[in-house]
Amino acid sequence: MNQAPIPTLPLGRRISRWFGRNIIRIYAVFGFTYLFIPVLYTFAFSFNNAGKSNLTWRGFTWSNWTNPCGAPEVCSALGNSIKIGLIATTVATIMGTLIAFAIGRHRFRGRTTTNLLIFLPMATPEVVLGASLLAMFLAFRINPGFWPTVIAHVMFSISFVVVTVKARIASLDPRLEQAAMDLYANEMETFKRVTLPLVMPGIAGAALLAFSLSFDDFIITNFNSGTLVTFPKFVYISAARGIPAQANVIGSSMFFLALFIVIAGQLVNRKKVR
């Protein structure tokens, strides 16, 4: 449809049309600038020859990137975050996917309660989730640490896995499964060869989401990890006395890694669609 302004249109209309069409783009450019300023800062300061405090610019260096574990504790914190993230993601993705299939593919009593139980953890502030879990661990004389943190991460990730996978299941065309059944596939075969491959992108997306939630979590982790230091906790603790530039290296790497995974995922998806 061609919407070019007709020359006889009154000036007011023309301005409002121009407004409608271009101001939004200008605004979007400002929006993206705002979004990326902290990223650029983090990235730029990963090249800072910082020494102890990475607050002011002291000259360019590659050394933080060539020696990312140079600062004490930074790599062990990163290692802890990755370990917790991988275990929690695996458990939460399996449990959440099973729930999503139950909700998306079956009729059962207690649906409303199930949906509520899935929704509530997402509507509860993290500080409450963290504090309540810690209070219970303490009541049972369980010391906070690695496994309590894993338990907590699984707990808050499940709901996000469920909604992500459920959305994918709901968007499937039921005729594909019917076709498989018409071609004499039994229920198990249909599930294995039709349903599961179709839902797989949703499960992969849910796992990525769960991992990034776990990796980036600070509040719940801070309550339940005791003396264990994760990467976000490392940043928080060192914020007071200056964060080593190596933390910026790790933050920037995570940014590029995630960007790569997302873009690669989209390209793979597009190929499959064709």
């Binding site: 990223v39 607050l55 707990m155 709901a170 039921p174 910026n248 995630a258 960007l259």
Partner: protein, 297 residues
């Protein structure tokens, strides 16, 4: 975003089998949520009415069902309560103001770059939450570019600083929770059939009228979902206040944190947590009712 899509399409694909299988599928996950979400919340309710053991050590409490704990806790941190809700509201409104045009631009004005721009919106949030917050401290700090620029333009005086202020806390919160606003908005805007906008145009509505009478009402589910997903974490947040604020900008999360770890006063921390959760749930329920969308759950 996901809940909305799920809710919208839920009715369409239902093969509806019955039997024991669904319960087997539900069991592990629901057990986990029961053991590590429901039980802790119930335990928290119990803790909130405990009192210190007379003559006991720090951290020893006894169940006395003292409901006055709530009144004491509330009175002791009224300011932080108010601040949590004011800052969260401000951050939510700012995030809406920033996200709506952004989501609109991506949904309607980005052509073939749509997916790429969507990735760009989410990408900044792959840099750790804590690092982003610290980055804002640098940006708004003395050595950042904002303060010198504003001083050169005489917008702020030579003595005024931006860090360690309510402004910095709200800025940080707005930024940190932005994708929770942008993604649901985008999801609902993207679903609007462009023909409805054309129809409005054909009926002689100008851009503003079309927006007010067609686009905005159709995007309401996204606005509701986005404001909730932003407001809830913002109201409970204490990281922004801890890193970007000063002692006069502490929020309820900071109090809960310090009651737990520094003062070792579990009952007060529990009572405050409960009040925060209750306040948020009430607000959310009223808000969902008022806005007439039940699509969230």
């Amino acid at each position: 975003m996901a809940f909305l899509q799920a809710a919208a399409t839920r009715a369409t694909s239902f093969t509806g089998k019955k039997g024991r299988l669904p319960y087997l599928l539900l069991a592990p996950g629901l057990f986990w949520l029961f053991a590590f979400f429901v039980l802790p919340i119930l335990n928290l309710a119990a803790t909130s009415t405990q009192t210190p053991v007379v003559g006991g050590d720090t951290g020893q409490f006894v169940q006395t069902f003292r409901l006055a704990n709530y009144i004491d806790a509330f009175n002791a941190s009224r300011e932080q309560f108010a601040r949590s809700f004011i800052y969260a509201t401000l951050a939510t409104l700012l995030a809406l103001a920033i996200s709506y045009p952004l989501a609109y631009a991506i949904a309607f004005r980005s052509g073939k770059f749509k997916n790429f721009l969507l990735v760009l919106v989410v990408a900044p949030f792959f840099v750790s939450f804590l690092l982003r917050t610290v980055a804002w401290k640098q940006i708004l700090g003395e050595s950042g570019f904002v303060v010198p620029t504003l001083r050169a333009l005489h917008i702020i005086g030579p003595q005024t600083t931006l860090t360690a202020s309510a402004l910095a806390v709200v800025t940080g919160m707005t930024y940190n929770f932005l994708p929770f606003m942008t993604l649901p908005l985008y999801a609902s805007l993207e679903r609007i059939d462009p023909r409805t906008l054309e129809a409005s145009n054909d009926l002689y509505a100008n851009g503003v009228t079309t927006f007010r009478k067609v686009t905005l009402p159709l995007s309401m589910p996204g606005v509701v979902a986005g404001t909730l997903l932003t407001f809830i974490p913002a109201a409970g947040d204490y990281v922004n206040a801890a890193i970007l604020g000063n002692p006069n900008t502490t929020m309820l999360g900071n109090v809960i944190d310090s009651r737990f770890f520094r003062i070792v006063d579990y009952p007060t921390a529990a009572a405050l947590s409960f009040m925060l959760m209750a306040a948020i749930l009430i607000l959310v329920t009223v808000y969902i009712r008022k806005s007439g969308t039940d699509e969230l759950v």
